[in-house]
Symmetry: D2
Subunit: 304 residues, 4 copies
């Protein structure tokens, strides 16, 4: 059975399953999304691409952007970024401050909010025009020059983002933020507000499955080692305190966002993006998780 057939079959099955998730409530703007949306897109190295459902509708990628900002910082600065954050799963929710207090302001990994805020700070220190430059980077990855931030979503999150303000200032109090917290958060909220559809997402992430090289022109975005390392990080830390569960049930590196998107990477084979807005209790797309579990089971392909 090929990918297309498998995806179609599971899509039809999961589409009608009762959605036990809930729309993300903490960013007001995200609650306006139609919760019936359900889209999937796979980009493969050798078997072509395929999408189904709402795979061309844009959504707020939220935390998925953390992988892209990490990739840009890693590309620019190499291993020295790890002086400022770790590579270990946190064992705590995405916005916890407890771990930071124990570890003196060094975030456990780049995919919890604290870590992504530190990456934002690094990018601000090293990019001429952080917002434009990051956008250019993502546009180049996804072959789409129209990609953009959502000012509504960013503004909505800024308005109620007190927990992130707390995180950023807390890290700053330990000396691990160089720039003004307000500026760092302004950039961070913009990153989270990036809007992409499943097709663009799986395209943009395909270089992670291709040893760091963009498929269209074989341009090296990251070294092979760097790409593998970010894959490893997605595997161990990509789903907050459900990362172990995702590795256990799906068996692929991946990253989720509270907008209901999930990207998963099968090294040397494909990337697959799923979008369904309602979230399970751990903050990951309910149907997205279900879909991917069935997908790796049916395709009998996981990295393990």
């Amino acid at each position: 059975m090929n990918f297309k057939a498998i995806i179609e079959e599971i899509y039809q099955k999961i589409k009608v399953v009762e959605d036990k998730g809930e729309l993300a409530s903490y960013i007001p703007e995200l609650a306006y999304v139609d919760s019936e949306n359900f889209g999937i897109h796979i980009s493969t190295l050798e078997q072509g691409n395929f999408g189904i459902g709402n795979y061309t509708d844009k959504f707020s990628i939220q935390s998925i952007s953390k992988v892209l900002s990490l990739a840009l910082a890693y590309r620019m600065l190499g291993e020295k970024i790890w002086k400022r954050l770790g590579v270990e799963p946190s064992g705590t929710p995405f916005n916890s401050l407890v771990q930071l207090e124990v570890d003196n302001g060094i975030p456990r990994n780049p995919f919890i909010n604290a870590g992504a805020i530190v990456i934002s700070d690094i990018l601000i220190s090293h990019l001429e025009n952080p917002k434009d430059d990051f956008l250019a980077f993502v546009r180049s990855l996804s072959n789409n020059s129209e990609l953009n931030y959502s000012h509504e979503v960013a503004a909505s999150e800024k308005e109620i983002g007190f927990r992130n303000v707390a995180l950023c200032n807390f890290i700053k109090s330990f000396g691990n933020i160089e720039n003004d917290p307000t500026e760092v958060l302004d950039f961070y909220f913009d990153l989270c507000s990036l809007e992409m559809n499943c097709q663009e997402l799986s395209e943009a992430f395909l270089f992670f499955a291709n040893n760091g090289r963009r498929t269209v022109d074989n341009l090296s975005i990251l070294t092979k080692s760097q790409a593998k390392r970010i894959n490893a990080l997605m595997q161990t830390c990509g789903f907050y305190d459900e990362s172990g569960e995702f590795a256990f049930k799906v068996g692929l590196p991946g990253k989720s966002g509270v907008g209901g998107g999930i990207i998963a990477v099968h090294p040397n084979q494909y990337t697959i993006a799923v979008w369904s807005p309602k979230l399970n209790k751990k903050g990951n797309s309910y149907k997205g998780m279900r879909f991917l579990e069935d997908f790796t089971t049916k395709s009998e392909l996981s990295i393990f």
Copy 2:
């Protein structure tokens, strides 16, 4: 370059590197081991086997046994074991009690002590002769009917194993241990005292790389899905609070023990066992970690 050449080259290099680790001190018996020991053995599905250094000398596999006891419990009882323990990285040291208090006696995963103690309790409840039956299981995996527990090491650990007594009674106080804590710990300490050499270890673990099937006779030890899931667990939780680092730098599922052994699994390809007794600060073999990092780098093969 083939595996043999790569292993030989790295072995010679790492052998002479200054060993910055320390012998495990908390089990008196383990401190008597010659810290110069350094052995490696690879078992492959298609390219034969190869060993170098002290690969036929037995050592105390300690926490590596946690994978084997989990395999036996999983084989016997299937998914229902997960009612009693989780599959998430803990973000804390191997013997922490903090997490248990937060999670009401449900260990975060089977590879921290608390989880392995719960698995021991499950095995006692379901095996006629727990110690003999487990030994028979491991012997059948490693094709070696001489494999045995070390009574000296088990006795040595029992004598000073107050932290594990605390863990077991703490879990019992939450109702998550069925049997008498003394009996559970007696079994648990025996499991940890199992002695194997690198060759036996890589042989015994080879079914994890072979979709759950023993290579000698294709007998199914675990289902394909179960084997993959344990591989995933080794990836996310196999090295205590250095699990992320191991995924990041080595990129293979694996498990370490304070006896200085490490086993790593490359699904569909090979298993490799390394032994060097001195441990880094996180309790994992200093040279073993170094060797495996170089090995996946040189061989350009990791699961990511």
Copy 3:
């Protein structure tokens, strides 16, 4: 209004109040107590004594014994006991292990279980016949040579005291228990099982209100400074994580037990013991807390 009149008035009022507490369930034997019991006894330095209700019925004093065992250890060894435990409120429940992990096995204060277990260990190391000698000490304080441990309650607690076994072994793993944990716990459970009535309890504690001197013969049990210091400890740590509330609402040093007893001390004036078996959510006697709050309000006498 004198003490007698105030006590009578509040007793009548609280007696008929709905008891929103619950009987302690974790020690089976304690659940057999008649929950209607309600007794009070005051012992004063200058205004005589007075009891009402079930003040001559014995009950299990449980954690109240922690003050008496501390007094004996402090009397024998002086300030050096504080090398092994602290004097700070814990901010956590009475049987938490989290704090111990953070503080490397040094209990935060002598009135949480961990601290009382360390005191038990100290007494075992320094008394010829720990159980007999401690009993003799309490008998001499309360002028009652019939006082005794309850073997049923001690046995009942031993049977299910896994959390305390965990605590003791956990502390031992840090090196802060000298004796065999089984022996320490055997003594500890006996201490907790001591049975006294309100009259005996207020008599036994009267030396804390009298600068350390037994009132019958002016014998110095503790130095003035030691007595004050234990009073201070009762104030800051006597009611687990409701200690602040008790200081705030009642304003006297005191100590409670899960048997439903509470002792409070007004330095230079009196001691008062209250007993009502049903406990509030923090594990302190529901009616006992209510009574004492009304008592210091009506009498307009607190230490603040």
Copy 4:
């Protein structure tokens, strides 16, 4: 021996003791203070007043202001303030965020930073001109219409007060701050910057020793019960994670500040203010603690 003689004797002794403390470093402005300063002032209800050393030199009272802002909020709103914060010792440092995460944004007590920030928020919501009104309140207590905030100290703390920005926004994220965090912190930093000398401080606090009544005119600032309750809070929570130690060694309700000031209250007798800028490891004045311990020992007067 009377207070004056005792104070003189101890002052001479402690003055020459080696000061093992360190100047507060985290507010730059505070590091400019002459660390040799050492002043004491006692205000009594019946034995007159007495000062020695630098008792008329103003210093930054810092956290001591938390008692005064609590008093004003309690006076205005009564018991309902306790819906928004607790009365329990925290068992953690003054600026910890861990406890807030566990308790969903309800600070453990009003004397840790988190609690004082909530009190500031309450005052902003209920005062017409918060800064002026609070200043008027403190001036009326200390009989000194010149008392004022230090704009230098407030500005200095604002500049580096990232941890407090984190705390305030963290609490806001739980919904327990009503006003704009920037406004709340601006007020909070001003409160901390209040400058008083030992004489003014002991005068201002005298109503706590006088059942809530100002001594000059018997005006009721707080009810008797309220005054007692704040005394109880100072006893259990006034010295961060050294509160138990202070109760144990000094035996009086009190409050310290990182400016090196300590106020202690002996209900129905006196208040005493001590100032010496160098702090011990817990953030309390090294010589101030030493002085007060000797003072209650020599005077043989504590509340216990």
